[in-house]
């Protein structure tokens, strides 16, 4: 049980390459924080710096009120779950779970008790005497989790733990990780590049881009009020339509309610799910005509790919099977609260 505090943390590699460019973050006790971002954004590096596997070039990291910059990974009271599980192949599942405790001179009966407890929680009791190679990917993942749990650390660190699993198992393990984390109430930092995973797991999301924090907030906050065009396109699937002011105005679109689009606006963002086909009942704060290029049926809904008069692409969602044909010109609309405005640098305007 501990808070984690990051204070202007930086990582500079040889050759003056700055991987982490000053990150400050407060992680509350028992909170599940998800670090998300495209590959190369520094999310894994940041996690490894918290773990002690990478040195900290400047700034300060403290876990449970204790500055850990100079501490070995083993002294930081953290447990980590690796992407490739990193189970010791020559040890049985039981030995894998016991290893960290043995190294800390935990009494034997205490080790046995904790292993039984963790094995029960993860439903791996029947595999305890097997070697990792005799287990499936999902079972190995559970053992890796078990190895973290038995230690009862101050914090769990997850480094893309589900990316080696198939899609179905991934959803299942995602739910399980959430449930476990809730019931143990252990502070957790979770790294992923999968925005679905990020949205469903996080108490708070941290979107990283180019070694800097782009935005921190609850999944809903990030979805509803993205701070930048980067976050706007990163969270949500299919991603938000970003239309240049010129394209919008040149295509005869208009913002009905106010005196047009403010002068500082460079980009207008609308989520595909916030656009409707215009009719008498639809909110018509922002409306215009588009030409349909393609329709994608994905099951319960369809995505219509269309273009504005100047050719800018726009995607929107229609429920059920669409009757819209290719090449058709239709009028679509969106309500004012769902329209996001960004300035030239991509920052949100309100």
């Amino acid at each position: 049980m501990a808070e984690i505090e990051l204070n202007d943390v930086r990582k500079v590699y040889a050759g003056n390459i700055e991987a982490i460019k000053g990150v400050s973050l407060h992680i509350a006790d028992g909170e599940m924080i998800v670090l998300v971002g495209p590959s190369g954004c520094g999310k894994s590096t940041l996690l490894r710096m918290i773990a002690g596997l990478e040195s900290i070039s400047s700034g300060e990291i403290s876990i449970g009120g204790r500055v850990v910059n100079q501490l070995e990974p083993s002294q930081r009271d953290i447990a980590m779950v690796f992407q490739n599980y990193a189970l010791y192949p020559h040890m049985t599942v039981r030995q894998n779970l016991a290893y960290g405790l043995k190294n800390r001179n935990t009494p034997k009966d205490e080790i046995d008790r904790r292993i039984t407890e963790a094995a029960k929680a993860l439903e791996i009791e029947q595999y305890l005497e097997r070697k990792p190679r005799q287990l499936s990917g999902g079972q190995r993942q559970r053992v890796a989790m078990g190895r973290a749990i038995v230690r009862k650390p101050a914090a769990f660190l997850f480094d893309e733990p589900l990316s080696n699993l198939d899609a179905k198992l991934r959803v299942q393990m995602r739910v399980e990780i959430r449930r476990l984390q809730r019931s143990l109430a252990t502070t957790s930092v979770y790294v992923t590049h999968d925005q679905m995973e990020a949205m469903t797991l996080a108490d708070r999301l941290v979107v990283l881009n180019g070694g800097k924090i782009e935005q921190v907030g609850t999944p809903i906050e990030l979805y509803e009020r993205p701070a930048s065009t980067f976050v706007a396109t990163f969270i949500g699937s299919p991603s938000m339509n970003l239309l240049k002011r010129k394209a919008v105005e040149g295509s005869g679109w208009a913002l009905a309610t106010s005196s047009g689009i403010a002068a500082s606006v460079d980009t207008v963002g609308i989520r595909p799910e916030d656009i409707v086909i215009a009719n008498e009942n639809a909110p018509a704060d922002f409306t215009g005509e588009v030409k349909v290029d393609a329709v994608e049926l994905v099951g319960a809904e369809s995505y219509v790919h269309a273009s504005l008069a100047d050719g800018s692409p726009i995607v929107f969602r229609v429920p059920g099977r669409s009757q819209i044909g290719f090449g058709e010109t239709i009028r679509i609309a969106a309500a004012q609260p769902n329209i996001h405005m960004f300035d030239v640098t991509g920052k949100r305007l309100d």
Partner: protein, 293 residues
Amino acid sequence: MQNVVFPNKILPYLLVAPQIILTVIFFFWPASQALYQSAMREDPFGLRSTFVGFANFTAIFNDPNYLHSLQVTVVFSVATAVLAMGTALLLATAADLVVRGRGFYRTFMIIPYAVAPAVAGMLWLFMFNPAMGTFAYLLRRNGVMWDPLLDGNQAMLLVVVAAAWKQISYNFLFFVAGLQAIPKSLLEAASIDGARGSRRFWTIIFPLLAPTTFFLLVVNTVYAFFDTFGIIHAVTGGGPAKATETLVYKVYNDGFVNLNLGSSAAQSVVLMVIVIGLTAFQFRFVEKKVHYG
């Protein structure tokens, strides 16, 4: 296995011919000669040989000299393998820690392997020869009664060190490769699990190196048994008083120096059985049992 049909009837045979010819001339022919001669006894003048069955074998196994040679070989092989592998492992783990100039160190570590056994033997002989060796001089000046020409244990020590020195490079290469094959995340997991230094080495790294270690154990034993002839011949010639006369050296000594061809052939047949046994052991046991996936 897939059956392959070659359009040309003769070319495939021509292509494998060089290998077949080499194997027949340098392996099957001498091996069959050894088998044949191990059952024969030559008269003192080399004019006539008579069939004696297993008499040569019963003779060598009742010969205290042969049993002594067997003992010398075991001591020599175990010492050489342990020294060569231990040193190589130590150097390989150390090389893993080197950050700058890693390639340079590795290249230089490999050079002794390119030195011929007899040359390696001469090198060590010159360094430790009681009459002119630099190190022998240093040792004696510091009160060590160093004379491998008289002291059997010292002679053994010298050939063991020379033989191990040559083999360290080979072992080093395999250990470095073995260390590199250990996933980095395993070592990171171990460091989070609180294992450092020697504990991490013995509980994680060493067990994961086991396949490499077992492979090298067999290779080093075979090396110490057979390939060290040149070193022993150059450094001690099997002496003093047969203290360094290994089985292979005794085959040479009895056969080509003392011209007791029957006994020498019987001894080489025994050696052949040993090497076949070692190889079978490696393939059957090591490759299957000591492997992690």
